[in-house]
């Protein structure tokens, strides 16, 4: 683990430049999805609606934060040979907590997210951060790093979901913004100014998530040229 980043060894809890960088770096220069290409699977599958994306983002922030903290606390006790399995057990436990909580509190979201809650376990962001950061840093810095990466992931998820839901169904968070919902199909005053938009069904299907992320990457790299792939 020679490549594990060690931020600093000084004691005490403070919030200076380095700590702020831990939080903001994953939002732009080191974004988990558009730069590191981690955690794509769930980003594609759950972004058909803002609501699902928001639930997923919260779940990933939670898992990322606590997996980082717990791994960091145990980092000196974990033998190197079995660290993958230990990390996976920590993540799997947290994901089980998320799954059971969702099942109890928001059954509707639990139903529509189905297997993708379980797939947070193999979400490479969580695993990647444990391996690259939490195994070598104190719990406090690891918590910031986990939060930052969770947010970096969540923000992309929400952007993709915004485009897909808005253009696909003319809705945001399930509320009708554009287009004719069944009650407006009859010729009323509202139907004339709400009903002109026809939902684009392709945006709801899987391939459109790919296109939206591709355009996002394009925009991100055009705006931040140092990220351009030179190979």
């Amino acid at each position: 683990m020679a490549d594990t980043a060690v931020v600093d060894k000084k004691q005490g809890i403070q919030f200076g430049k380095k700590e702020r960088k831990l939080l903001t770096d994953p939002l732009n220069d080191n974004n988990p999805i558009t730069v590191q290409v981690l955690g794509i699977c769930s980003a594609l599958a759950v972004t058909t609606g803002m609501k699902n994306a928001a639930v997923m983002a919260v779940a990933v922030v939670f898992v990322c934060l606590f997996a980082n903290v717990f791994t960091s606390m145990l980092r000196n006790a974990i033998p190197k040979q079995v660290r993958m399995i230990v990390q996976l057990v920590i993540i799997a436990t947290l994901v089980t907590v998320v799954e059971l909580t969702l099942k109890a509190v928001a059954f509707e979201s639990y139903k529509s997210l189905s297997v993708f809650i379980g797939l947070i376990i193999t979400n490479c962001i969580v695993m990647g951060r444990l391996e690259a950061f939490a195994m070598g840093n104190r719990p406090y810095e690891s918590a910031l790093d986990g939060l930052g990466n969770g947010f970096g992931y969540g923000i992309i998820l929400l952007i993709v979901a915004f485009f897909r839901e808005f253009f696909g169904k003319g809705e945001l968070f399930g509320a009708k913004i554009l287009g004719a919902s069944p009650e407006y199909m009859i010729n009323t005053a509202e139907s004339s100014w709400l009903g002109w938009y026809q939902g684009n069904n392709l945006m709801v299907l899987f391939p459109s998530a790919m296109f939206v992320i591709a355009v996002l990457i394009w925009a991100h790299r055009a705006w931040n040229p140092k990220l351009v792939d030179v190979s």
């Binding site: 794509i40 599958a45 790919m210």
Partner: protein, 200 residues
């Protein structure tokens, strides 16, 4: 038997793990730069899916289910057990392959650890549970899913090898193009959705 062939074809083409569920995307995008490495990773995925699927089926039925040996519903342990099985099977397969077939190890070896966190493997097991397959169906689903994933990654690697020589805008080079291509391939695979596997 016909049922099993149906499931194989369905999971390989119509419900392709990579192109219609977009599972295992991280390694799919990271390792698809050349056809050679893509073939290696694809084979490793087939291998591991075919091994872990029956084992996870047995764990789910005989240990966790209500009719299992503990006579209680232990399904909340599913994630932890599945991922532990996958991680340890990958480790075991790696050791066995290294011992008995060094040439296969040289071509597969580096990809095996990657597979632990490939969501296609865990996703396959979770789909198997939610679709309530029996043992033979689970094996067929594992093989078919692995084969479909193999096809998908080899196809995109071939396209990416070609596209290296095209004039792509700098900001779109590499990753951006890979996403766009996968989206187009996903659309192409959507065309297979109309096929009724029962016709075979």
């Amino acid at each position: 038997m016909g049922d099993l062939i149906n499931i194989f074809i369905k999971s390989a083409f119509i419900e392709n793990l990579a192109l219609s569920y977009f599972l295992g995307m991280c390694s799919y995008l990271a390792v698809s730069k050349t056809v050679k490495t893509a073939v290696g990773l694809g084979l490793a995925v087939i291998f591991v899916l075919a091994i872990t699927m029956p084992i996870n089926w047995m764990i789910n039925t005989f240990l966790l289910g209500e009719g299992g040996i503990f006579q209680t519903d232990l399904t909340f342990l599913r994630f932890i057990l599945f991922i532990a099985v996958i991680a340890s099977m990958v480790q075991l397969v790696e050791m066995v392959v290294e011992k008995y077939s060094p040439s296969l190890y040289n071509s597969l070896g580096i990809f095996l650890p990657l597979i632990t966190v490939n969501c296609a493997i865990l996703g396959g097991s979770l789909f198997m549970v939610s679709k309530e397959y029996n043992f033979a169906e689970a094996v067929s689903f594992g093989l078919g899913g692995g084969f479909g994933w193999f096809l998908a990654i080899v196809a995109i690697a071939a396209i990416r090898e070609k596209i290296k020589y095209s004039a792509v805008p700098p900001a779109m080079r590499g990753l951006g193009m890979a996403f766009l291509l996968t989206g187009l391939m996903g659309m192409a695979f959507m065309g297979l959705m109309g096929i009724d596997p029962a016709a075979f």
